[in-house]
Symmetry: C2
């Protein structure tokens, strides 16, 4: 089975597609650019969603649901926003089909043309701020801390499963505040939550930073981002949090009476992560044998495989281990299939990325032992039956940590400070990864560098120290380094 995967070295892009396909995570559909998320992939999304949802609720957010369709005119109300999204909108123009007069199936009923076209939401700022006008009258109505789990549609020309699809699933937070500072604090809080989730749950180290003007969300004053490094050393933007200022309040006339009875415009944020995270998860940890999943997000954390096949004694031991594991909150499965050989099963569970495998063999049982194999390092250990649950509990923590540390080391190994443009190009070509370089702050330079090297500024890191220097391209003065990289 594993043989069917192209190795990362041979063709990284094909390797990714193979993993998605062979681990049964997703597939392309009959509709261009739209994917089918298969049960294995969706189980991952459920775990991602549930944990993020808990973190949102713990910080006072509530969920709501807004319409899928947005009147075309709404999009035009915020000038930069329409510029950013109009070119990739699915447009609904009719509301009925009818029998083809020629007798061939159904055709659009021309008499059912909509007065105003509707677009499928590419993001929901416009419809939500149009709604907030009714919800917000007074400072007592603020803040509004609302999140939505939804599907959105952006008509992408080049799509890749999870990483860039025309339809994707995401959450979009949309908050409204009485003061600028409160909105900025919320924006930063959410990028921090995303970073915490990425590192603690996905075991994917990220750099928090601010986007340059050129890379900002259409309609934002500031866009905060978390950027991760994939195994091919390219960057993945994994989540963004936007301080929207009063742009949408202006566009949709959303004001409130403050404590002094003065009419004020409302301050806004929005923030989102999507099924793209699953792409990031795959490209951070997986290997040439298949998926590798961090235990905290793995739908199944442990698989018990009888060697060579189930039998009364083995069933008994397996049942006991299952119960012990479940009792301490671990998610195990027991493979009772009698037809497939153990070797075939091992390969299959490696493909699926189950973090720990317990092999139960008759001869080992006589010695009171089972074989425990970890997916991340492929190490196998004989472990006494007694205390196997506690052993696994620790092992899962160790695997989670190891995955994070491995990814962190990979990122450190591929991060380089560079001070001249020749080195910049050389490092980018030969070593790749994140290049920390000075930049003069102009969009012109940023675009030139992209044109020449395909590298973009991923972010201005939040934790970067001030350091006087010269722009790696223009030689103009700069106050701090920014991160350049090729990106997904």
């Amino acid at each position: 089975m594993a043989k069917e995967i192209t190795s990362r070295e041979e063709d990284y892009s094909q390797w990714y597609n193979d993993i998605v396909k062979k681990a049964n995570l997703a597939s392309n559909s009959a509709v261009r650019g739209c994917m089918v998320i298969k049960p294995n992939g969706f189980a991952l999304w459920e775990n991602i969603r549930d944990q993020l949802d808990r973190m949102f609720k713990d910080t006072g957010h509530v969920n709501a649901y807004f319409p899928l369709l947005i009147p075309k005119s709404f999009l035009s109300k915020e000038a930069e926003h329409v510029e950013g999204f109009a070119k990739e909108c699915a447009v609904v123009t009719h509301h009925r089909l009818m029998n083809d007069p020629d007798g061939k199936g159904v055709v659009v009923d021309p008499s059912a043309k909509l007065e105003e076209e509707l677009i499928i939401r590419p993001t929901s700022e416009t419809i939500i701020w149009n709604t907030y006008r009714d919800w917000i009258k007074s400072y007592r109505d603020l803040p509004l801390l609302v999140n939505q789990w939804a599907n959105v549609m952006r008509w992408e020309m080049r799509t890749r499963l999870f990483l860039r699809t025309s339809e994707f699933l995401w959450q979009e937070g949309h908050t409204a505040h009485a003061t600028k500072q409160e909105a900025i604090d919320e924006t930063i809080q959410m990028v921090n939550i995303y970073a915490q989730f990425a590192e603690e749950w996905m075991a994917m180290p990220v750099i928090k930073g601010v986007k340059t003007a050129n890379e900002r969300f259409a309609g934002a004053i500031d866009t905060y981002t978390i950027e991760a490094m994939m195994q091919d050393t390219k960057a993945l933007q994994a989540g963004t949090s936007h301080f929207l200022g009063q742009n949408f309040a202006k566009a949709f006339d959303v004001t409130f009476l403050d404590e002094n009875q003065k009419q004020q415009l409302v301050w806004a944020t929005s923030w989102g992560v999507s099924t793209r995270l699953i792409g990031g998860l795959i490209m951070t940890h997986s290997d040439d044998d298949g998926l590798v999943l961090p235990p905290k997000l793995a739908p199944q954390q442990v698989v018990i495989v009888p060697i060579p096949k189930p039998g009364e004694e083995i069933d008994e031991v397996a049942t006991k281990i299952m119960a012990d594991l479940k009792a301490i909150g671990i998610r195990p499965i027991y493979d009772q299939d009698k037809k497939k050989r153990p070797g075939f099963k091992f390969a299959e569970y490696e493909m699926r990325g189950i973090p720990v495998r317990i092999g139960i063999g008759k001869r080992d049982l006589e010695k009171g032992e089972v074989e425990i194999a970890r997916r991340d390092t492929k190490e196998k250990t004989m472990v006494p039956l007694e205390g196997v649950a506690a052993y696994i509990e620790n092992l899962l923590v160790e695997i989670q940590d190891n995955l994070f540390n491995r990814a962190l080391k990979h990122r450190a190994d591929h991060s380089t400070e560079v001070d001249d443009f020749d080195t910049f190009k050389k490092v980018l070509e030969e070593k790749g990864g994140f290049i920390y370089a000075h930049w003069d702050g102009t969009t012109e330079t940023e675009k030139k560098i992209k044109e020449l090297t395909k590298a973009t500024i991923r972010c201005i890191p939040l934790d970067s120290k001030e350091e006087a220097g010269k722009c790696v391209f223009s030689g103009n003065p700069s106050k701090q380094r920014v991160i350049f990289a090729k990106a997904y």
Copy 2:
């Protein structure tokens, strides 16, 4: 606050709208027929969804996600299906907007016309069975027990919040089986799960039955339904489960090799419930003072209100009660607002339907007591502080039971066996409710009765006994009674 609600007697329909609005559950949006589900309404949906999801998973189902958009041609592949849905489809015809040459906002870019139009899913049988063709090759791939939580769109002409909206949220299960019997068993299992959920969680009694040919899902061989009676005695179809036979397998060419290496068509079911359930929940239990929620689904089960306002001593007691309630899995909130008067708060929480209110007053505390008010009966009781958590735990069970029994009695009081058409019309007009009558089994009679009385056959009850009789309309022979009612 409660005064703003129209009474049920005065105008039942307006009462419903008032509840939805005043309890902040949902509102109409800028897009015709599409609603905004507000945080209070969405919290209910989350509780409904989470419990159903557990029940689906406990019976072996997994979740997946299929594309929002369906190629127009797919719809035509199943003849009855297209007949049922083509007339209410939102149709996507273009994938780009552009600046209006006249400078007024954006217009549809005519050069971005799709080769084939796409419709927004009204239900997903077609796209899913087109996908199953790739998933199913052998009997070893069966059964497929897949569910999807999603938004769907049906361009309804007359909409009502939750009960009938153009876009709604739902789950749709789509299963594939090797044998007819297995598919029928699944269909029945799911209608049983819906009934169990409705009765045990929503405290809403339902009758399980089979739809007549005329009321069947477009493309089904048999449609099973759960039917509930609302307070105005009209019926609400609350969930359906369809045995689809091999219709979709035929339409999308989905076959499998059976154990004897023979090519066979796959058997199908589909089943769904939607945000309509929230409408049913409201119309089953609520009263002229606002929402009444069954404790099991109430986002907040208990509210603690200080009388007249918070203070050190009351805070201490409230904090202790909160902790005690949380420790036994109850969801309480503590209202610490100092500005609003208790009377105002009482009305507000009655409006929101929180099942139990604890009033903590200084004088009562001196006696070691708090006041406990239940939302369903409005009864108030003084309860000793000690053991208040256990008291509430029992009370919540009692309220859940009371709501169910009250609704059950209401249904019994408005169910009538009728044997002639004059009585049929008289009962329907004067008493309303469910009429158990004999029917000759023809669509013709069914349609005539509907034309004359607006009553439809809600279902042929699963548990009805065989009983020879004569059709209430035609006088032709009949073997069992069916349920007629006016319906939402």
